[in-house]
Amino acid sequence: MRTAAAVLRKDLRLELRTREAVPAMALFALTTFVIFHFGLDRRSLEGELAAGVLWVTLLFAAMLGVNRLFVAEREQGGFDAFLLAPVDRTAMFAAKAAGLFAYLCAVELVAIPAFVVLLLGPGPGAAFPELLLVLVLANAGVAVVGTLAGALAIQTRARDLIAPLVALPLLVPVVIASARATAPLLAEAGAGAFPAKWPLILALYDVVFGLLAYAVFDYLLED
């Protein structure tokens, strides 16, 4: 836990100093919403279409963060220095996943209001707590799978290509569950009934992939 906290603190400090991941992710999300705003040629979106636009945009923005996640470790020797240390290697997985989760939350602080202003008819209003729950569960899933894909991709020469190719198919269930859970919250006539099934599926996904990543991450760092 102490090791993971040290790695996470170091990563957050590097991101605050270099601003390589979060601003790019946020800018990507904003630009995509603007493109949808003009491309769809509709005054506002609602329901399933709004949910689909929101989650696909957030997922692609997340890929930018996934691609940057291990770059400092690979290019500046952080992997070697970490591997020489007498620490549990899964601490790096925990720190990187927590870091990506924090990046996603930071991006959503900008992206969700922009989505409401640019594309959404009525705001989520009273359904905001449910939306927050879905965001947290989906972010956790994206962070776990994205970290795993990022660690796999960083060992290859075509890492910018490999990370999305590995992560996106694995994240299809997250998009489906998140979009289905969010669609009633973004309905034009006000928030519909919140389907409890989809958040549960998201939570199950997070647990399963969290355990899987914990089991295999050590081998991804091996020579």
Partner: protein, 222 residues
């Protein structure tokens, strides 16, 4: 007790053999100097001893523990100084060393003590990307010895240092058991207790330093 025991060590990168049939023993507290032209296998040997690479053939014991099986016991007892400083360019010297002190379980009070010893305390809060290669190399030396390792693995440790800086780091790097990769026959033989001369991954020299002269080492580069 032997600090290093290699028997028939081999390592390949795909089809290319980097090390083959390397055998030697090094007692605790002694210095092994490894000579050889570029691509001879010196860095590969250091990375295997540091548990960063797995041996593909033969037996390797480091500080009494067999690799790769007991690698976890070796980690933390080894100080590694390679061609790359293994430091984050956007963090300062102090931030880097505090981070590694936490990873290695070293006392954080040692950070400032080492920076002071190597005369970089005045620039301890500047990002490394603004410092010269020589200064970064001095900070990398601090990283390698921060946790007071039993075995130092040094790949041309003074390559980026001017003579004054090389003299400054020398006492920190002259402790315990050492494996030093070098291209300087005179200096290397002066420091060595045991010499390993590699060419094309093969051990052409593996003998006590007293039995090796400069001409033997120069022949490796011929």
């Amino acid at each position: 007790m032997s600090a290093l025991e290699l028997r028939g060590l081999g390592r390949a990168y795909g089809e290319r053999v980097a090390l083959r049939e390397v055998s030697l023993t090094l007692e605790e507290g002694r210095t092994l100097v490894v000579f050889g032209p570029n691509g001879a296998g010196k860095s590969t040997l250091l990375r295997i001893l540091g548990t960063l690479l797995r041996p593909h053939a033969g037996e390797v014991r480091v500080l009494g523990d067999e690799l790769p099986g007991d690698a976890w016991r070796v980690r933390g007892r080894v100080g590694f100084l390679g061609h790359d400083p293994l430091l984050y360019r956007d963090l300062s010297a102090r931030e880097n060393l505090r981070y590694f002190a936490r990873l290695y379980g070293a006392r954080e009070t040692r950070v400032d003590a080492l920076l002071g010893e190597l005369d970089v305390l005045g620039r301890a809060d500047e990002p490394l990307r603004t410092l010269s290669r020589g200064t970064v190399q001095r900070i990398a030396v601090c990283r390698a010895v921060l946790h007071e390792p039993d075995l130092l693995l040094l790949d041309e440790p003074t390559a980026n240092l001017d003579p004054a800086a090389a003299e400054l780091v020398a006492p920190l790097l002259a402790r315990g058991t050492r494996v030093v990769a070098s291209h300087d026959p005179e200096r290397g033989l002066h420091d060595a207790d045991v010499v390993l001369g590699l060419r094309g991954g093969r051990a052409e020299i593996a003998a006590p330093a007293a039995q090796v002269d400069v001409a033997d080492v120069r022949r490796l580069y011929g």
